[in-house]
Subunit: 322 residues, 2 copies
């Protein structure tokens, strides 16, 4: 990675400040020809405090002699899930900065604790095995080839370690009071659920993070296998699949192949839930022609001559008013 | 199953009493030629109260006109895990009663709540994806072919439903005060962890039980696949496997194949932990001849000419004292 450029996402908390200090030290000590850009997304959710966070990161980047980029969130809409919208906007900003600097990747300061929290948050919300894989240590940043999102601390660093690291380096960090607001489910996971689990088993956090990694690997293995079964069932046409192939699979693999097929045909899993998937599965098992499963967004799956058929409904043009 | 005989495990709690009432009613109403035997294992851990539980179940079985069998635990040893030893002794008793009556299976009253508790107990203890599959709704009772352990309530009945069922039937049930003793991790899971999770999501218990089922199906799928890879790698001899085959697998599948191999060669996974498995995996990846991984129980795995070799150590006879 000699000569590579990375954008470091810095909120100002102990974890991302530690990450920034560590990569800067690595670059300086080893005299690596690496470039780092500190990037701060100002969610603007806490007025002056948000601006102080931004000023703090700007100053820190300056001291370390690094480029600094920031943006204030202005496209915020009313309603919906605030955390999700904030995350989407933040990643969009990071990708734009990566583009600007032609960076090889974006680094974030997520720790082992964040991984355990994500696992538990998804467990509480009712995720299946795939969702419980939580965060990837490395994943594509977006559809641009070769640009990665990398989480160097995810597999080993505890949040408390990053606080100790900052103290030892005599660098201050910012505390986000939203991390204390128990109206957010994530905060309840952090402040109520994790302490209880740790009290039952002191190794709870590293165990959960390791479990997430195992589930990520194993569900990826199943999806790889599922994709092969799907390709076999799709030989005739992409929009139809062979019911005979599906019937030969175990229930678990059949569910996975159907989900992969619908994801591929619909361009995503959005709004598709267990209920829709169960309806499509019933078509396979009953095999009765003429029956139809309705999907969200007006798509339909039906059975005919031993094949499942996927159809996007045509949007009917309304007659012009007279 | 016309003419079949089932042993019903009855502790005297609302869940197993409900199960007994339900199967007896089924038999009576539908005039099915089914035989049920009520079986109670008296752990004797609570003196007179344990004997009252036994007397209660005996009387209930008598009222319902069912055969009754019981045994008092006498083989209890000091030390070790009391819950585990009690469970082992109970299942041994149930299997003996199934033998005596030439029964087709044993029914237990485990509910959806028990399934969620088992999942969480294993999560807390650090189980991997296989352990989180929790309890099977149907599994072989032991190595005798065709005799099953069946948990008819596992996939749908809530514990509170069984209490309501007993009240509606005007049948009393016994409460086990050990279910209240927070010295047991399972009781802490039930009384602290589950209420917190339910407060975060009212659907937590059914969600966790469904997740356990999904994990059970998916890990079974992976193990089936792993067994095929193992067979391919074992073609030359059962005690050695081909490193080339292992290297081509994903990390997740390689771990699974190695674990299956060691389970097969050792006759079980007892005392084998992540550390041993990691040592064997390093042999595969480094492929350095001469290196050895020590397993508990004096077994060894080494690498030679591209094959992993499993060896049980010979027990050295000590020289007779002079």
């Amino acid at each position: 990675v000699e000569g590579a450029t990375f954008v470091v996402a810095v909120s100002g908390g102990a974890d991302s400040v530690s990450l920034l200090l560590a990569v800067e030290e690595l670059q300086r000590r080893k005299k690596l020809r690496l470039e780092f850009v500190a990037a701060h997304f100002n969610h603007g959710l806490r007025g002056k405090e948000s601006d102080k966070d931004e000023a703090f990161v700007r100053k820190l980047a300056g001291k370390l002699g690094l480029e600094f980029e920031s943006e204030r969130w202005t496209t915020r809409k009313k309603g919906g899930n605030l955390e999700q919208a904030a995350r989407d906007a933040r990643y969009e900003f990071l990708a734009a900065i990566a583009d600007k600097y032609q960076a090889d990747g974006v680094l974030t300061g997520h720790t082992l604790d964040d991984q355990a929290e994500t696992f538990l948050l998804r467990l509480v919300r009712g995720s299946g095995p795939d969702g419980l894989g939580a965060m990837a240590a490395v994943r594509p940043l977006n559809k641009k080839i070769g640009r990665q999102l990398v989480r160097p601390l995810l597999a080993w660093a505890r949040r408390a370690d990053t606080e100790g690291f900052c103290r030892a380096a005599k660098v201050k960090y910012r505390n986000d009071p939203m991390n204390e607001d128990e109206a957010f489910l994530r905060v309840r996971v952090r402040r109520q659920l994790i302490p209880l689990l740790q009290d039952m088993n002191p190794q709870a956090v590293p165990n959960l993070a390791a479990l997430a990694g195992l589930l990520r690997d194993e569900t990826a293995e199943l999806s790889k296998l599922g994709a092969r079964h799907l390709a076999a069932a799709q030989e005739v046409s992409k929009d139809t699949i062979d019911v005979t192939v599906l019937k030969e699979l175990s229930a678990a693999m059949r569910k996975r192949v159907l989900r992969l097929w619908l994801e591929q045909r619909r361009g995503g899993l959005r709004r598709l839930d267990m209920k829709h998937l169960a309806a499509v599965e019933r078509l396979v098992l009953q095999g009765t022609g003429g029956k139809t499963a309705e999907l969200p967004g007006g798509e339909r799956v039906s059975v005919r001559k031993g094949r499942l058929i996927f159809r996007k409904m045509k949007v009917e043009k309304s007659l012009p008013e007279n």
